[in-house]
Amino acid sequence: MIESEVDSERSKLKREIAELRAALNRKEQCLRELEVSVHTNARAEQEIVGNAVESPGGAVRVHTKLTNDDIARYSRQLILPDFGVQGQLKLKNSSVLIVGLGGLGCPAAQYLAAAGCGRLGLIDYDEVERSNFHRQILHSEDRCGMPKAESARIALLQLNPHCEIHCHSRLLYSQNAMHIIRGYDVVLDCSDNVPTRYLLSDACVMLRKPLVSGSALKMDGQLTVYNYGNGPCYRCIYPVPPPPEAVTNCGDGGVLGAVTGTIGAMQALEAIKVIVGLGDVLAGRLLIFDGSSGLFRNIRIRSKRPNCHVCSAQPLITELIDYEMFCGMHATDKDNPLQLLSTDERLSVKNYQEKLQAQPHLLIDVRPTAEFEICQLPDAVNVPLVEILDDSYLKRFGKQLEDKQLPIVLLCRRGNDSQIAVQHVRNRFPTHSVRDLIGGLHAWTNIVDPSFPIY
């Protein structure tokens, strides 16, 4: 075959495979919807007959024996003396709610489903995208755009078809939290934001559910079990939320998948210990993982705070509140555009490209150096925001900054940090033209140059 024929055969096959895969996805979705409706109807009937457990979606029957398939499948953990048949049965009769199917929730769900947890609830409002794959290891390329809970469910059922999985593809908030959480024995906080952490802690105190709380950022991880035994709740440790500017999310700070994987797998372990009654549950202790040095530390944290607003004997808060308001942050890890400057103090990317790019100007990219190395605009110089704020940039550009006619343009990834930089530089040089690019490099890709990489 000549080369052009190979090329056309290759693209024909690729196209056919993509079409077949799309058809397969559609059929699988139909099947899932059918099963959900059958399941819901069956439960409604049982509720009429009156033999169902009170909790919504609660386990209808209690398993008292392992099947031959169970014995073969779980043999390596069944022979653990502290786990055994009783442990496996407890796990089979248990239900765990996993909040967030991201870097923590994926490995946690994976180990719980694989170990034979009877019922898993998966909550996530978000959809699968490419930047998830490096750490959210249940999702796959062909499920881009699918709700994360659904995508995780597909992967988990491949791992263990005996696990019953309920998807809640919506944001958890005060109005639906009690209803959803009530139906589960243990809750895993695999979320990525502060309001959801307070919401889960308060709801778990009110419903008396143990909360296995994991978190990770960059190379660091933390893990503890709240509201278990005499242990504290999240509010006992952190009575007031941090100011929004002190909170970094994974989209801005970065995170290594093996770090979230470490913490997520340990969340599954703690959930299994809570369910089976095995070992010493990590309550009243905070495990701190420093991935860069490979060190684990255990800090003894306090027992319940006697005057805790939620978990003390005389609580001031007895029903869920508005957690976004309480924290002054949104219950997602998505960024909100800052508005420090008015529009006439800024430049659109289009305007910059058409009017200024070819003229003499100083283009300063204020992103961290690691990000600047990923991609950069022509002639941009990198001065990370910290070097703007501590004025160390002055020495480097002393000569150029003397020229009041030279326009200064600041930019960053999304147009937030660049506004902070403009305010600082303008204070120092009030008579210069100092502006930033609205929407930063993301806007550059979306409006000017679609081939410019986005991260």
Binding site: Q222, T248, G253, R300
Partner: protein, 90 residues
Amino acid sequence: MNADGPVVNVHVLFFAKSRELANTPRSKVDVPTKITASDLLDLLVSRFGLISIRDNLILAHNESYIDNLSDTVLFKEGDELAIIPPLSGG
């Protein structure tokens, strides 16, 4: 805080956000052998630029959480302090 009292040198470990703010994972600092937890916190906050997270961190002395800011903390040479702000990512 009694500036004239005896002083010892202790290790300070920084985690997560505090490591960024202090710009180091570990340091050493002189502290009075006897100090209230709130004075200790203020000393660390001003010495290492932690003002933005002052009210949102765990302060641990030899791997134990300091429960109450009005408590008195007693130090020996070489003791370890850890500053642990919450992580919320996942």
